[in-house]
């Protein structure tokens, strides 16, 4: 794996060298840009929970960011006549708002030129003030709480549709596609979980659905039997969970053990391979959503997935493509402004219009993604499968349909056990 990664990067370097040579010959250089290139080191900050219960998703974010930075370095980007070497400064914010603010200050003190992060809405919102005050552009790949971009900070952007957009479409999906009349909601009381659950509730009501129960848990609980029993009495058609996979997985399992027939629906927090691992057979048939267009449908999407696999020997967990887009958008803005200085390239970032691997990246005046699409997925045979994409203007669709990978032996066994289990 490592070998092939090196091979690919050396290949990239080789092609860049060829391209660089041809460029060099064209304009008569007053100062040869490769003569003795004093490399300028540009620090890019990143923060996500690298320890604790969401460490698997946090590491995934870091990997996505790192991949984009390594690629940019391999290309040998020249900005303002100087060869740029990007350096990643990654911090662990533990998904904790207090720690988030501490690491934000640490990154600002380290003189980062741009910030990719944080992962959670709860950490991103308090940290965004610190980046704003220092004038550093911040792109969160995954903070979806609407408040993040509603603070009037010109430095705050995100590469993912916010919860207003996502919650609204989740509500439409539940009432229309799933034809649910009675809907129960559970949220984990975090900025993300509560935010998306509230938007979902509004949308369900607007679409003529009835919310029969709204129960609460925490982002550290494992026992949901009591609240699920209370929900069971209300006979919902759909149970919606606003929260992350460490709760969503066991919750789905307990839902089945109580004999609740309702469909399980979650937001982007449960759309992970980990969710399926924790829920086991009970994951089958669960629905999840993720802002953006499926990777397979995006130009460069499949290539990104393969590159990620080759570099880290792991499957993408969740937000890595959004981090990758965030870095590329930031670097593109620096190139267009021909400056790595935050004040210079910030206006270019606000005007950005670039095809990423997740969707077309185009910001509105608040820094939110314009016309963000939401894709719905369902667990089938122990794997998340694309159902449909709602809203947004999808970029040019790829000609090839998504290649369905053959289900492994273990998964088909799970499928059998499950059909035998529920009667």
């Amino acid at each position: 794996m490592k070998l092939s990664g090196q091979f690919i990067s050396s290949l990239v370097v080789a092609t860049m060298l060829v391209a660089g040579c041809s460029k060099e010959s064209a304009p008569p250089p007053p100062k040869a840009d490769t003569a003795k290139p004093a490399e300028l080191v540009v620090k890019i900050g990143h923060a996500s929970p690298l320890t604790g219960t969401q460490a698997h998703i946090g590491k995934d974010n870091e990997n996505g960011t790192l991949l984009a930075i390594e690629e940019a370095n391999a290309k040998g980007i020249v900005i303002g006549g100087q060869k740029i070497k990007f350096e990643l400064l990654s911090e662990d914010d533990q998904a904790d708002p207090k720690t988030g603010a501490i690491v934000a200050q640490k990154l600002v003190d380290a003189k980062i030129k741009g910030m990719i992060g944080h992962l959670n809405s709860g950490t991103t919102i308090p940290a965004s003030r610190i980046y704003h005050d220092a004038g550093i552009p911040q792109i969160s790949p995954s903070a979806t709480n609407p408040r993040y971009t509603q603070q009037g900070f010109k430095t705050a952007f995100r590469t993912m549709a916010n919860d207003e957009q996502q919650g609204k479409m989740l509500g439409e999906f539940a009432t229309k596609q799933l034809a649910a009349k009675k809907i129960a909601i559970i949220d984990d009381r975090t900025a993300y979980g509560q935010g998306i659950a509230d938007e979902f509730e509004k949308s369900v009501k607007a679409n003529g659905g009835t919310v029969v129960a709204h129960e609460f848990t925490s982002d550290k609980s494992t026992d949901f039997l009591a609240i699920l029993t209370a929900i069971k009495g209300k006979k919902p058609d759909v149970v919606f969970f606003g929260g992350m996979d460490p709760q969503g997985g066991p919750m789905t399992k307990q839902l089945k053990s109580l004999g609740i027939k309702a469909k399980f629906l979650g937001g982007d927090g449960v759309y992970t391979p980990e969710f399926i691992k924790l829920a086991g057979d009970a994951a089958e048939g669960a629905y999840g959503s993720l802002p953006g267009v499926p990777l397979e449908k995006m130009p460069g999407g499949i290539a990104f997935r393969d590159k990620y696999k080759a570099r880290f020997n792991k499957e993408i967990q969740l937000y890595a493509p959004f981090c990758y887009d965030a870095v590329n958008v930031m670097i593109e803005a620096m190139k267009r402004a021909d400056s790595v200085e935050p004040a210079k390239y910030l206006p270019e970032l606000a005007k950005m219009n670039l095809n990423g691997v997740t969707s077309r990246i185009l910001f509105d005046e608040k820094g939110d993604l314009k016309g963000g699409a939401i894709t719905f997925y369902q667990v089938k045979n122990g794997k998340w499968e694309v159902m449909e994409t709602l809203g947004g203007a999808p970029a040019e669709p790829a000609p090839a349909p998504p290649a369905a990978e053959p289900a492994s032996k273990a998964e088909s066994k799970d499928g059998d056990a499950m059909s035998a289990g529920y009667k």
Binding site: G52, A55, A230, K232, P250, L278, D281
Partner: protein, 310 residues
């Protein structure tokens, strides 16, 4: 599902959860009964039990053995591992401090707890470890309520273990030695009871119960995590206090009661307060009951002898 079925379901949820609390609470109460010491590292012993069992289970998950046998093998490795750990904790952290002021062993208990958590984090990592789907997901219904084979098994096993423990303490020679040590360690020593052995044995038995509880919790919720012992330990300690710490029957009663209160609290607090308080007050409700019991019956529901302990 009508009101009665919902009630029945909450009762089942509560009793299963409560029987796990009771098993862990016994470990707290036995040690307290004999030493007058609160072993705050006990929750971590539960966690280590779950982790060791899961390591064995995951190693065997590919084998062609039937699921329940694999889980049993995991349990059979976890029990001696926890017994050894319990003995080690007592030997290293508590015995040297036996005649020290009472605050000292309390602080080492917290220290041991932190050390165990971090060791587990280093060995097993920071992520949730999922329990392989080895046990049958069969769901039975009683009236309108449903119960899984695993829930029935957890409840019955906990009941059997508790019955065995009562027999051990009330009817055997070792039990008599334990009761004698609890009443007065010095007098028991003069009567020929080896006090150190009795104390070690108490820790070993408590840790074995913790191992069983650890495997139950991880199988029941389908996951284990290095931090899982903390909240569980705190709840079980509250259960022991609720029933009357130092009293074996009290720990069982307290555990079951706390489980049922939590479950009923989460299920009914919303409707009872007209939606003013929601299910996020689940834990508040449980601890509120604990406070009320302690205000009106400071020695717990079944406790009597707490006051006379030096």
């Amino acid at each position: 599902m009508d009101t009665f079925d919902t009630f029945l379901q909450q009762l089942i949820n509560g009793l299963v959860l409560g029987s796990i609390y009771a098993l862990v609470a016994l470990g707290y109460t036995m040690v307290y009964g004999i030493l007058g010491l609160i072993n705050f590292a006990h929750g971590e012993v539960v966690m280590i039990g779950a982790m060791v069992a899961l390591a064995v289970i995951q190693a065997l998950a590919g084998a062609t053995l039937p699921g329940p046998v694999i889980v049993l093998l995991g349990l059979l490795v976890a029990i001696p591992a926890c017994m050894l750990l319990g003995y080690g904790i007592e030997r290293v952290a508590y015995r040297p401090l036996r005649h020290a002021p009472r605050l000292a062993p309390l602080i080492t208990a917290i220290g041991v707890s932190i050390v165990l958590q971090n060791v587990a984090m280093i060995i097993w990592g920071r992520q949730y470890i999922s329990f392989p789907p080895l046990l049958s997901p069969d769901v039975y219904s009683i009236g309108g309520a449903s119960i899984t084979a695993l829930q029935i098994f957890i409840f019955l096993l906990a009941a059997a273990i508790m019955a065995g423990l009562v027999f051990l303490v009330q009817k055997t020679r070792l039990g008599r030695a334990m009761r004698a040590t609890a009443q007065n360690p010095e007098a028991a020593g003069l009567m020929g009871v080896n006090v150190n052995t009795v104390i070690s044995t108490t820790f070993i038995i408590g840790s074995a119960l913790a191992a069983v509880a650890g495997v139950m919790v991880s199988a029941y919720y389908g996951l284990a995590h290095y931090y899982m012992g903390f909240l569980l330990g705190l709840k079980a300690f509250s259960a022991a206090v609720l029933g009357g710490i130092g009293n074996i029957g009290g720990a069982m009663l307290g555990g079951l009661l706390l489980g049922v209160i939590e479950s009923m609290g989460a299920g009914y607090i919303g409707p009872l307060t007209g939606g003013f308080l929601g299910s996020h007050y689940q834990d508040v409700f449980a601890f509120f009951v604990l406070i009320m019991v302690l205000v009106f019956r400071p020695s717990g529901l079944l406790g009597e002898r707490v006051a006379e302990r030096a």
